[in-house]
Symmetry: C2
Subunit: 213 residues, 2 copies
DNA sequence: CAAAGGTCTGAATGGTGGTTCACTTCTTTC
DNA sequence: GAAAGAAGTGAACCACCATTCAGACCTTTG
């Protein structure tokens, strides 16, 4: 025996793998799944096409990891807002939609990749799961609201699906690209108001979503 | 000179072209855009792969025509319901959503192809336009409602986008496949109620969507 | 430093599927 | 029926990637 993996080597490999995933994410956000060939992604990460296969068994596996990382972060953030203790169900719902939308607006490319861009089958499956989780988060809050009598009776799953669909639709359409920060704020405002109406929350005046105290 | 196209020939050619488009639509509804290769589609239409190119300059062009035909029909139907004279804006809105959703439920494959299935770039562009038209139809009704004071102030475009997104999201997810006709009716009911809440219509009791007098 | 066992490369391989084209098979006209 | 043109065919062509692999290059150990 004359060679064993040393911590330094392990670290270098891990770093390379991480870099690969990160650069692949950037490429996907930029040009979509279709344009992210193994060659392009490898070049972006500063390695050869062949080397990709030392980190992942296939392009699909890499794509799935890229998706999971990015989507997982989003679910986590949304979960924290919706599940937190910042006000009643309706308030958290509004804040959740705002966060969802704001993050998507801030990186439209990634949002598009996660929500809508054509992708291969493996990523498509992953996407369904992702939407399901998003929906479950929204549905929980809606359910809480109806049980507390704050929201009218409704199927929480349908409402939750509508919320993700609505935000996705508004954001993904290139027409909806707000030119100015003010326009973005207005859009967020409309979206939160819409979300509250969707869930049937009574139309009271609420804090402006974009305001910072 | 010794040959000129005769009406009979023209008719045969047109019929072949129509058949090609129709069969291609069926194939796409069945297996999605990805699975609809030129060979498969040609076989379904009873012609050879080469013959497809006598009717269309490229596969993309055929795909676009398939999309336009199917989507155009949907837009037309929805437009008739929303723009018709059957009640106030809110009622027509609810009926429009119901029609949209019912038709999608009745041919899920096609709905999926039109709304969500991965497609090549040309079809993707067409899809954006299609959604835009859908949105414009809904937006008009919402605008009418707000101007009549029936609906609260809101950005009609955002509400309209939400409606298409919501219906799409609910319908396209395989989980939402209703097993029984009763479940489908319940889903439609939830959807119309949701749509009315989305637009901010006052929560009065309305006619059951599925009822026939 | 030499041996052993990695990592890394990039050209070759292979599968897929749109597109073309030389050829066959009609249709029409004279 | 023969010539003039289409229409129709399907095998061959080609572009495009994902994937592999033989060899080059590194790192570690004794």
């Amino acid at each position: 025996m004359a060679y064993r993996e040393t911590p330094a080597v392990r670290a270098r490999l891990d770093a390379a793998r991480t870099r690969l995933v990160e650069e692949a994410t950037a490429v996907v956000a930029e040009v979509g799944w279709a344009g992210a060939s193994v060659g392009v992604v490898a070049a972006a990460a500063g390695m050869s096409a062949g080397s990709v296969y030392q980190h992942f068994p296939s392009k699909s596996a890499l794509a799935v990891e890229v998706f999971r990382r990015a989507a997982g972060r989003e679910v986590e953030v949304l979960g924290a807002v919706l599940g937190g203790s910042g006000g009643d169900a309706a308030t958290r719902l509004a804040r959740g939609v705002e966060v969802f939308a704001r993050r998507a607006l801030e990186s439209r490319g990634l949002a598009h990749a996660l929500l809508a861009a054509p992708a291969d089958e493996a990523v498509g499956t992953e996407r369904l799961e992702f939407r399901r989780r998003y929906r479950a988060l929204f549905a929980d809050v809606v359910r809480e609201g109806t049980e507390a009598g704050l929201l009218p009776p409704q199927d929480p799953e349908v409402t939750a699906a509508a919320l993700t669909g609505a935000v996705g639709e508004v954001l993904v359409d290139p027409l909806a690209a707000p030119g100015s920060p003010a326009a973005a704020d207005a859009l967020l405002c409309e979206l939160t108001a819409l979300a509250l109406r969707c869930a049937g929350a009574p139309p009271t005046r609420r804090t402006e979503p974009g305001r910072r105290p």
